[in-house]
Assembly symmetry: none
């Protein structure tokens, strides 16, 4: 019995440990949104999470580790959603992949933007290069199925005949910019962000498609 209870204790402890880890991440996110990326300190995170500063370092080796963790969490979810979209696309639902992608990225633009910024700031951090590599590989994990799908569409003449990754990188870029657009002070004084985002997502879903206008453009370029 003592064995079982000690096992349970350990299990319990692990669970608590896990919960606290989530609390740290959650506190960090809260603070990023409320205070701005430059004004979040480990101290603040600890306080918000209701624990001591030293305890944070029992869960994460460094502040950067907290940040990559946020990035990875986000990217994993995104990857999942994209996989789903790809699956639906392969099942015949045309445009399902980019649709899923844009929906995912625009669902919580403030979070997406945060992750964008974190990525830029951590790009050269040596202590977390392993995790960054994981992030990159995560992103590329759907590459095979994406390329395959895109190639088929190119073959069918639906998409322009360029290397397949051009298509998804263009999507990435548009999503990236769309998110930033939501927060840019030059533009976000307008109130119809939602509709605008729909419009942009619409473009994202169909861009790269062949069609009338394309023909025109080609002629111009001749």
């Amino acid at each position: 019995m003592s064995i079982r209870s000690s096992t349970e204790q350990i299990r319990e402890k692990k669970k608590l440990f896990f919960i606290r880890e989530e609390r740290i991440i959650s506190a960090a996110l809260d603070l990023f949104f409320s205070d701005g990326i430059d004004n979040v300190t480990v101290s603040k995170i600890a306080t918000r999470a209701g624990i001591g500063k030293g305890t944070v370092y029992k869960h994460f080796v460094s502040k950067n580790e907290i940040l990559v963790r946020i990035m990875l969490d986000y990217e994993k979810q995104l990857s999942l959603n994209l996989s789903e979209g790809i699956k639906r696309a392969e099942a015949g639902e045309s445009g399902a992949a980019p649709k899923a992608y844009f929906q995912s990225r625009l669902a919580r633009p403030e979070l997406d933007r945060l992750v964008q910024q974190l990525e830029i700031r951590l790009a050269d951090a040596v202590d977390i290069s392993a995790q960054l590599e994981q992030l990159h590989s995560l992103r590329r994990s759907n590459e095979a199925s994406l390329s395959e799908m895109l190639s088929r569409q190119i073959d069918r003449g639906v998409l322009e005949n360029v290397p397949p990754h051009y298509h998804y990188l263009a999507c990435w870029a548009l999503a990236q910019g769309a998110v930033e657009l939501c927060f840019n002070k030059s533009w976000n004084y307008r109130l119809d962000t939602e509709e605008l985002m729909d419009f942009i997502a619409g473009i994202g879903i169909t861009m790269g498609n062949r069609g009338q206008y394309r023909g025109k453009r080609v002629k111009k370029n001749d």
Copy 2:
């Protein structure tokens, strides 16, 4: 003669002063590109410019002033190029405006990206809010002619019938993301960035156009 020479001396001095200012900006830019935005200090800038730290403050009230200056310089050039494009477009050259815009922004993507990042980091800096406002108004300065041009194209059925600013904000977003794409470590391991950018610019120039596929999209959504 003494009068003339003293006048000349003053002129000479002012010129030297101006040159020094340019040197500071230039040194800052160098360092931003070589060391990364987070590792540029006033001290480093001064050293790189070959002057004392205090001298920097003869030219700029604060570090932030250097940064906005970079932003404004860039934005002014961009605005000029865009105006040019708008003019050509109004002279009948179809797609000249977005073409000029994308060319401008993608001409020196590292600089464009720097400015993007500076904008984000300085968004809440109170000491330069006036200059930031100038930046915003600069951006909006082409709005009238852009809107007019776009409205005409919408009337002619070339562009989708949405508020005109949807079209140029979509362009802004795509350019924003395209620039970031150039530097993202997940993607830029590929070597054909140039072509990719051409592809994306092509999309930017034609996106929002009506055409066959659009019709399809609409049907799909039904």
Copy 3:
């Protein structure tokens, strides 16, 4: 037992923390006296206190906070002594209030002068305006009983019939100047400072009195 010891540990820690705070104040005071008010830096204070520069900021939000703290500590003591004097005066001991006041202010003239100077220099410091307000209210806290006491003396014809605060403000002024006198290089080449201060305090205690009392004092001195 572990509970008790941990409680004790915490208590011990808090005590150490408090002691360290006192050490910082004490180091600051030492330096003010030895190096002069303008030559005291946070760095020096830390070194003198035997701690790191950053540690100072665990105890005080800013350098100014150290300074007001010194002021408040001093003013509180002064206020206490004055209250005591007022109480004794109300118990019939004539002149007890101004006597206590002068004794208090002249007990450590170098400290009194430091506080005077700090007050002047911090008068416009916005970050500690709250504490300064506290200082002011502390000073005014004895106003009611003082005024009452003085009014009675005025009614009895002991003091000149002017608004009561004239009397205590005159005391304040004389004490202020007397302290400064101790350090003024034009005058302090004389060696009988102590007696001089007694003389001035004597004036302070009786000034504002009408004829009668004066006579009495003179008799005493005979």
Copy 4:
């Protein structure tokens, strides 16, 4: 004729030089009053005086020299007024000396306070020790006649029998404090400063007196 004109030129120049020197002093004073003692820089002074910063250093060896100059100018005037008072006192006008002294010091309390502060801050400045010595000797210059006068009054039983300098140092102290009182934020919320200063000056003029005089003054006030 050329000699005369060159002599005149030199005279003219000297005059201009002198005028400019006054302008510098005046500019410094303006700034001390408007910006506060801690916020006056040589640069500001030059600008306010309408000349270049370098030119200031043609007139004064250092910033400190400007400051002592202000102090000396003030002290000279004060000394003059006091001498006048002493003379009148020696001519039989009772209380003329302290009256003149208090009037002088309270005529422009903001200036007196400035000089007080400057003195404290410059007390240990080595580069102007000569001028500071001059200041001190200026102050003591009236000592002989003052002491004589006071001794006589002591002999006549008008003043208390203490070393004569006790009397004038007490005056100095009271004036010092009275001036500070005008600016202290704890007290100057009251609006009757003028009357209060009269009251304090009255004290200053009679303090140290033995009984008789008091009686007289009181009669006057009835």
